[in-house]
Symmetry: C2
Subunit: 239 residues, 2 copies
């Protein structure tokens, strides 16, 4: 029987057994939202890289580099971590190498024993749910968090996905976040704007990024890790 | 200005700066509920001990020993981890040495840099809030969790305490748990009985322990760590 669990922080992932499971990595503000947007706008693949120097060294080797730390674009990288950067129609066939504060760390830590690693965002929530529902495997939702701590936006995404999957779960985090999601979904944007990281980003004048990352079901694809790079797979969503 | 934050697991405590703060350690099922009950029923002091052998060695040295692992009383200890054990009127002046799966670990990890360490439970929620409101210090609620993972009962206690304190907070965990507490408080017992650890304990036929641990404001004392032992302090509660 398929089950569902949540890991609230990369610092807790060692407590979970990933074997045979599909891991859904989520970093709503903004790494995984940006990855999904990039793939929906022509990008061929995204290579997640944990550290800045390794990522930067891929520039010129067939990759365009994207680098972010603490919410800001890093010097020496072509792109930062804004999904809006990928909307101008110039990314067809481009391969991206990306490093971010939290999201790429979580992706690195999911590799290995998991059956599959996919990338979640509100932008492709229904497509991701549809994909998982076709599979037999149990699911672990892995929240990137903020520097190791719990964050609201990734956890509420988990609640939203749990509400769509309705898998049995004896995981308290799922029970908490699904309940919280039902309570807040009528004004999810308003509630999530109270989150500490949303406030942090608002200080950088990137309110548009936040609104974009909190758009539901804009794209009908999943983002899946294959041979160390994330690629898109079209999924029908008639939701 | 006083602030409020939450640590959801002992595995995350290194991410928090405890200095100058009052740490409220909570392990609702059942370590901290049991400690508060013991102190309210005549016990003079409780020495929290991380490992079984050190705890057991204190038997006869002026201590009665209490030992629990995985929800069950350990062989060789006088007491397990049930608050009900302390209600028979035979504990006046007794000193307890206690080791439990999660709670005593969290207490050990709070020592050192914190301004004060106190022990929380629903049984003395209002007394604890009143005590904190008299103080100038910021507060960190430290959930013992279950073997490193998030649990529902400790986190919802944090939500309940946050609702009483109303301190400003930029901590996403506080925002999430306070909101969840408001949603579930009309049937907190029903909701918390869905928690994985409550189910685990129900399997051991200790339903009475669960109901007892979820009683609000039975005792008007706080439990505070002084010189490595937890003692009671009377607090007026006219709330």
């Amino acid at each position: 029987m398929r089950s569902l669990e949540i890991c609230l922080s990369p610092e807790l992932i060692h407590l979970h057994d990933l074997s045979g499971k599909i891991v859904v990595v989520v970093d709503i503000f903004r790494a995984t939202s940006t990855m999904v947007t990039a793939l929906a706008n022509g990008v061929t693949s995204i290579k997640p890289v944990e550290d800045l120097e390794s990522c930067k060294s891929l520039a010129g080797n067939g990759y365009v580099t994207a680098g972010e730390r603490n919410g800001k674009k890093e010097p020496g990288f072509a792109l930062g971590n804004s999904p809006l950067s990928y909307l101008d129609g110039t990314f067809d066939g481009v391969r991206i190498a990306m490093t971010t504060t939290n999201g790429t760390v979580a992706i690195e830590r999911s590799k290995g024993s998991a059956e599959e690693v996919i990338i979640g965002s509100f932008l492709n929530l229904q497509a991701t749910a549809n994909y998982l529902l076709q599979k037999e495997a149990s699911v672990l939702i892995f929240c990137a968090g903020w520097k190791g701590k719990f964050n609201l936006e990734d956890s509420l995404y988990a609640g939203a996905l749990a509400a769509l999957l309705q898998y049995p779960s004896d995981c308290d985090g799922i029970l908490a976040m699904e309940t919280l999601y039902y309570q807040t979904k009528e004004d999810l944007l308003g509630f999530l704007k109270k989150a500490s990281h949303a406030k942090r980003l608002q200080n950088f004048n990137i309110e548009e990024d936040i609104d974009f990352c909190l758009t539901f079901n804009r794209y009908d694809l999943i983002a899946i890790l294959v041979d160390d790079e994330i690629i898109a797979k079209k999924i029908p969503t008639n939701a």
